[in-house]
Subunit: 183 residues, 2 copies
DNA sequence: ATTATCTATAGATCTATAGATAATGC
DNA sequence: ATTATCTATAGATCTATAGATAATGC
C-alpha cells in the first residue's frame, strides 16, 4: 500500500484543497477529519502523517483558500470584480467563493496561527490592489481595506438571510450601487 | 425541586440570554447544551422541557441578541454610533457586541428558522434608521443596508486578524474614516 | 530499513431521552 | 395530578494514537 514520495506530496496537497472547500462550505467545526479524508479519497488514520493536528490543517487550508481568492483579483477590472463579488452566483457558491466571507467569522475563534494566515491573505490583497492602479487616492491601503470590508460584509449579511429572501438580494444590490458610484 | 410557573419562565428567559452571549463568544457549534445549562445555573436534562432542540434555542437566542443589538441603535447619533461600532472595545467584546458581526457567518450554515431571525433583525434595524431621520437620501433602505454591511464587514475582518495585529486596527480606522466622511 | 497508508480503537465529547423526585396548583 | 428539574445513560459523534501492512528507496 506504500506510494511514491511524489504521490504522497500530491495526496497532501489534495487534502489541503479538499479542506479549503469543505471548510468554506460547512465551517471548521462542521467537517471532521474522517469525513474530510474520505472526501479526499483516503482513510482517517493517514491524516496524522501529514499534519500534526486538525488546527494545523485549518491554517494551511486558510492560506490555500486565501491565496486562490487573492489570485482571482489580480489585474481584474474594478467594476467587473465588484459585480462578480456581489452576484447571487458568488453568494450561493460558498465552497469555491471568497474565503474571507466564508470563514472570517469562524477564524476569529481559532488560534493565532489560523488568524495570522487571514492577515497575510488581506496583505496579499493589499499588495495587488494598491500598486500600479493609476488613480491616486483610490488605491491607497485605507481605500482597499475599506472596500474589502464593505464587500465581505455584504456577502456575509446576505448569506445570513433565508434562501430566496428578497432582503438577501437587496443587500447585495444596495452595496453594489454604492460601491460602483461612491458619490 | 419543583418551582413556580413564574420562576420557570424566568429560567427559560435566562437560558436564552445566556445562550445569546455564549453563542456570540464561541459560535453555535462551540457551546454544548450541558455547558450552556451549567452556565445558566441549571442541569443538562431540564433543557428539553423548555426547547424542542438546540436548533430551536439558536433561533430564539438569535432573536434575543438581534433585538438588543437593534435596541442599541435607537435614536443614536450617527457619528457616535459609528465610533462605538468600530471601536477596539466593541471588537474585543464579542459576547455582548453586535450579533450580526459575531454570528452571521455561523447563521449562514443553519436552518432557515435561524436565518429568518437574522432577516427580521436586519428589518428591525431598517425600521429604526429609515424613518424620521431628517436628511433625505441618507436614510432610505439602500443607504442603511449599505452602511450596515460596511460596519459588519469591518468588524468581522478585524476580528479575523491575530490579537494585537496592527492590521486589525487599520481596518477599523479605514472604515471609520470613510463612513464618517463618505465624500 | 523506512514510511505512507490502512484498520481498529481509546477516550472524550455531543444531542436527546428515560425515569425519579418533589413542590406547585387544581 | 401535574410538571420543572434532576440524575443517569443511550447512541452517535469527534480527535488522536497504536500497530499492521506493503511498496519505495537506500
Amino acid at each position: 500500500m506504500k506510494i511514491t514520495k511524489a504521490q504522497s506530496q500530491a495526496n497532501r496537497a489534495h487534502i489541503v484543497e479538499t479542506a479549503a472547500t469543505l471548510f468554506r462550505e460547512r465551517g471548521y467545526d462542521g467537517v471532521g477529519v474522517a469525513e474530510l479524508m474520505a472526501a479526499a479519497g483516503l482513510t482517517h488514520g493517514g491524516f496524522y502523517k501529514h499534519f500534526g493536528s486538525k488546527a494545523d490543517l485549518m491554517a494551511e487550508a486558510a492560506a490555500c483558500g486565501l491565496a486562490s481568492t487573492a489570485q482571482r483579483a489580480v489585474g481584474a477590472n474594478r467594476d467587473a470584480f465588484l459585480d462578480h463579488y456581489l452576484s447571487r452566483e458568488h453568494r450561493d457558491a460558498r465552497g469555491t467563493g471568497c474565503t474571507m466571507a466564508a470563514l472570517s467569522g469562524d477564524a476569529a475563534r481559532q488560534p493565532d496561527a489560523v488568524r495570522a494566515r487571514f492577515a497575510e491573505g488581506i496583505e496579499q490583497m493589499l499588495a495587488q490592489r494598491t500598486d500600479g492602479d493609476g488613480a491616486p487616492g483610490q488605491s491607497d491601503r485605507a481605500a482597499v481595506l475599506d472596500t474589502l470590508a464593505h464587500l465581505v460584509g455584504a456577502l456575509v449579511l446576505s448569506r445570513a438571510c433565508p434562501d430566496d429572501s428578497p432582503l438577501a438580494d437587496e443587500i447585495l444590490e444596495a452595496c453594489r450601487a454604492r460601491l460602483r458610484d461612491p458619490r
